[in-house]
Symmetry: C2
Subunit: 579 residues, 2 copies
């Protein structure tokens, strides 16, 4: 490509609504252009990256026996009503009516359509397994679109759907996709991590997220540096503390703690470690009986003062599905005290105490005394209060926790979710009556898996991981161009012009994706553009250098340029690219 025949549009400053680095840099590098809230035109420079991302995905999907098709954007409401998602998806689903008043969804994903395709096409187990995918525009009407391509409304996604005759087959298809994703993200040249995710009803290891590692990531990833264990924060298990619970050493003492409702301030007031305190969280679960009467059940959740509640885990405790925080009025009514002074000892009414595993292992702890202005110190299970009714994993893990696989201690890093593989089971095939005839000629529901990659989101995530104060640093496999040639004074020097053209042809001949900057800019402006755009390899062709028999090579992460002889440059570049 010649820059003069391409469209390059860089900005000194990012628009004020670009809050994060990747959004700012994509706007400044002219990769995207905002059309509306969460809606972007992919400019020529950005589209090249998208196409490279798509090509890698397509190649690995095909190698993994994925079969590409293309499902429509505009999908009849009737299909979405069959699975109930027409209602369940709420405002996020973009709905549209045609001239005859018929309703349609603009696809956010395509489970319904692919299941509809398959239920009419698949008759026998002999046709299975199958894995269909497409790379298609999606729309989700996010309440608050932001961060450029990271949380847009219109975006591109690769979504794949596997169909199998039984659970084992589905899990095998899932494994094939997991491995394909691993190859895909490896080829992107990004640091990534696959983590086990919670997948609700199915449980187990039925779902994994693929995250690009970045300090700015929205999600906390939990992993064990000395084993394969990895999960997202929702799914990472906090094991019970090792060993026996320490014996009680202190006497139970009611201590005045006026205006001290948080564990942090209680610990400071008493001069103790925060890890010696217990915080009490009051939850309420409402159930509606057959007579439509609402019954409320109240739960007291106990968490160590320095730990965080994990709402997903709480929801899995028997009786706690659909829980909510109790209101202040409810707390006053049930416990006779105000929030901040609740505790398991001497409650006014019988209450179900649900203790986190760590709390159940504590002795001589500090907790609210159910009396405004007072806490207990030296509290102990069994002695001062009955053992908790329920002990469960209720908290987020923290760095240093034991890994659930017993192979070391957990570490935590931040990630950006860019892929998700999911064992769907028969949820869609049952609601849509997608069956096949098994070996005995009996109809059985198809076992499904679904597998997504946020194509356009990859761009944002790659940048969040790879940038400096000059701009983007693309991995070579998804860079808009692999190499940029920067001739100095091409219009003045015949030598420079000739050498540039020779090199351009040689690199193209070697299959390198090269752009020559023939715009005639001053060196400073030219270099700044390409550093902002993030092309990984730059070659400067100058008359002085040529007369000394060298070109100047500089990798995007290099502090300084390296002189390379013109004859050796193609091999040199190939060597750099192979690294």
């Amino acid at each position: 490509m010649r820059a003069s025949r391409f469209f390059i549009s860089t900005l000194k400053d990012a628009p004020s609504d670009a809050e994060i680095v990747s959004h700012q840099l994509m706007m400044r590098a002219g990769m995207i252009k905002r059309l509306g809230s969460g809606i972007y035109t992919y400019m020529p420079m950005g589209l090249r990256v998208i196409r490279k991302v798509e090509a890698i995905i397509r190649d690995e999907m095909n190698k993994a026996a994925g079969i590409e098709l293309l499902m429509p954007l505009v999908q009849p409401a009737e299909l979405w009503q069959e699975t109930g998602r027409w209602t369940k998806m709420g405002d996020e689903l973009m709905r549209v009516k045609d001239r005859h008043g018929r309703e349609y969804a603009i696809q956010p994903t395509s489970e319904e359509v692919i299941t509809d395709v398959v239920r009419t096409e698949i008759k026998s187990y002999r046709q299975l397994p199958l894995n269909f995918y497409h790379i298609q525009t999606k729309f989700r009407d996010e309440r608050r679109p932001r961060f450029g391509l990271m949380r847009g409304r219109e975006f591109t996604m690769k979504d794949a759907y596997s169909f199998d005759r039984d659970l084992a087959g589905m899990q095998a298809s899932y494994k094939v996709m997991f491995d394909a994703y691993t190859r895909i993200f490896t080829r992107f040249g990004l640091k990534f991590r696959a983590v086990a995710a919670d997948n609700g009803a199915i449980g187990g290891s039925g779902s994994h997220e693929f995250h690009v590692i970045a300090h700015t990531g929205e999600d906390a990833l939990v992993y064990c540096p000395t084993s394969d264990y990895a999960a997202n924060m929702e799914a990472a298990e906090a094991l019970p503390p090792a060993g026996e619970r320490p014996a009680a050493a202190q006497a139970l003492t009611k201590t005045a703690t006026p205006d001290t409702v948080k564990c942090e301030t209680v610990a400071a007031l008493l001069g103790i470690d925060l890890a010696q305190t217990v915080k009490t969280i009051a939850l309420t679960v409402e159930t509606t009986g057959k007579d439509e009467k609402v019954t409320k059940q109240h739960f007291m959740l106990l968490l160590r003062g320095d730990h965080e509640l994990n709402d997903i885990k709480v929801g899995k405790v028997a009786g706690l599905a659909g829980h909510r925080f109790s209101t202040e009025a409810e707390i006053l009514e049930v416990y006779g005290t105000i929030p901040g002074y609740l505790g398991p000892i001497g409650t006014r009414a019988p209450v179900t105490v649900v203790a986190d595993r760590t709390v159940a292992h504590m002795s001589d702890f500090v907790c609210g005394a159910n009396d405004a202005g007072f806490h207990y110190t030296g509290a102990n299970w069994g002695r001062d209060v009955a053992e908790p009714a329920i002990v469960a994993d209720l908290r987020n893990v923290v760095a240093g926790d034991a890994s659930p696989d017993g192979q070391g201690a957990l570490a935590i890093e931040r990630g950006i979710e860019v892929g998700h593989v999911f064992q769907l089971g028969t949820a869609y095939s049952e609601s849509m009556k997608a069956t096949f005839l098994d070996e005995n000629g009996k109809p059985a529901p198809l076992q499904m898996g679904c597998y997504g990659i946020g194509v356009t989101r990859i761009l944002g995530a790659a940048i969040e991981q790879n940038f400096d104060d000059k701009g983007i640093i693309w991995p070579a496999s998804i860079a808009p161009f692999e190499v940029v040639l920067c001739p100095m004074g091409m219009d003045r020097s015949e030598l420079v012009k000739e050498e540039t053209e020779k090199l351009y042809a040689a690199l193209q001949g070697a299959g390198v994706d090269v752009i020559v900057d023939d715009r005639g800019l001053r060196p400073g402006a030219m270099f700044a553009d390409w550093e902002l755009i993030g092309v990984p390899h730059r070659i400067v062709i100058g008359e002085r250098g040529l007369k000394e028999g060298k070109l100047e090579y500089q990798g995007r992460r290099d502090a300084e340029a390296t002189g390379v002889a013109p004859d050796a440059i193609v091999a040199f570049i190939q060597g750099q690219m192979a690294q």
Copy 2:
């Protein structure tokens, strides 16, 4: 590709709603699957054709200095309101509201968005010319979607937009696109014709349509076999007849023609040639004055009995913009007679007579006598009635008419419109204030052109041109596969299996897009599938043949197979493909 890893789904019969051959064959060959009215899933076999069509378009667009980007599907209403198309497009424009009640269009084309991109990006004439294109999903809410991909609602289109500093530049960009289109359709391997089209306000040769030639085409194409002249029926000019008008030879005679209101029946009754009759068409033009009073003007259009009215041409006659047919009541009121007996001679009120060029050249003609049940014969201009107030080209040309370039006689064939190039001028740039600074630093509106190709429509058009009673006959460049290998009894014969694998590898190595049918079907069913799907080259590998030292090659249009030695087959196939 191996058929066992692909998805092949053929049908014996087409669904009853498939009215035309291409729709029937695409459904039967498993290329598309209906999701809703005018909405199709592109199945794996169909998607391969679409991708090949797109690749050819992209390659030629890039060679013609087109720069690819990707504009969103969901486009803010405000942009469409700027050009007035939000209203003008009516029900065909699919509209959607987001969760905040903001309105959007699902793009049918992208003039507004590209003009918005360019008005913020282009500051100076130095940045011009530019030509942006994208290949993107479109939606048009057709009143009556039908014919499969030929008149669907969701479809794929390549749309390009050129921007120039002046008319000459725009016309040069237009020429570049015209030539690129010619190369694109040539590479598709289709018989096609570019015809001049009417483009309303701009006139001249500012618009061409590209048609795939097919008997079943919706459009009539006019061309001169002995010159370059070609136009669509709307735009093809009918020249005035050559020579002087013949002198009057008959006397004007009022002749009884009871219940004979059509020229055909008048000619039969009188025993004369239809070409001797003149039909009269009453038109009314309503104009609303400043006082909101509606004034009606009435026109009498004269056409030779065997000619057809061309409404586009009529609309261009001074005073006839916005014309409509007069109602029966208006005819009775103005002319004092009933339709079928109108004529230019002896009208009750003064009326503007607009004669087609051919009619103005007639003598001794037959026309209505403005008296129910009577026609005049032997009518002559000048003698019996004043020369017509207006003489204009009002009719469709017919085969044999003189070519407007004076180089021969016109012929007519049918075509399917698949591309359109259009000189837009400044219509969009003026309404959207898309200006640039010219050499004198003065703002000037951008000169635009737009250029579309109906990507998915190409599939339908290619089939309408290329099919037989067995199925589709794809041109090799856009066939889903170039070559199919049909092994006979691969599971029984080690020799067949070995030779098939060898040949498969050899063809792949030679860059041939080959599929091996390893499904284990009987020969009849296997051959029928590939003839239906329309793969252009087939090689049968059978044990008997191999023992005789040959494979059986058959081109999709060949009546019989040809024996080819295994060693020679790759070169043979390459030879066939080069034809």
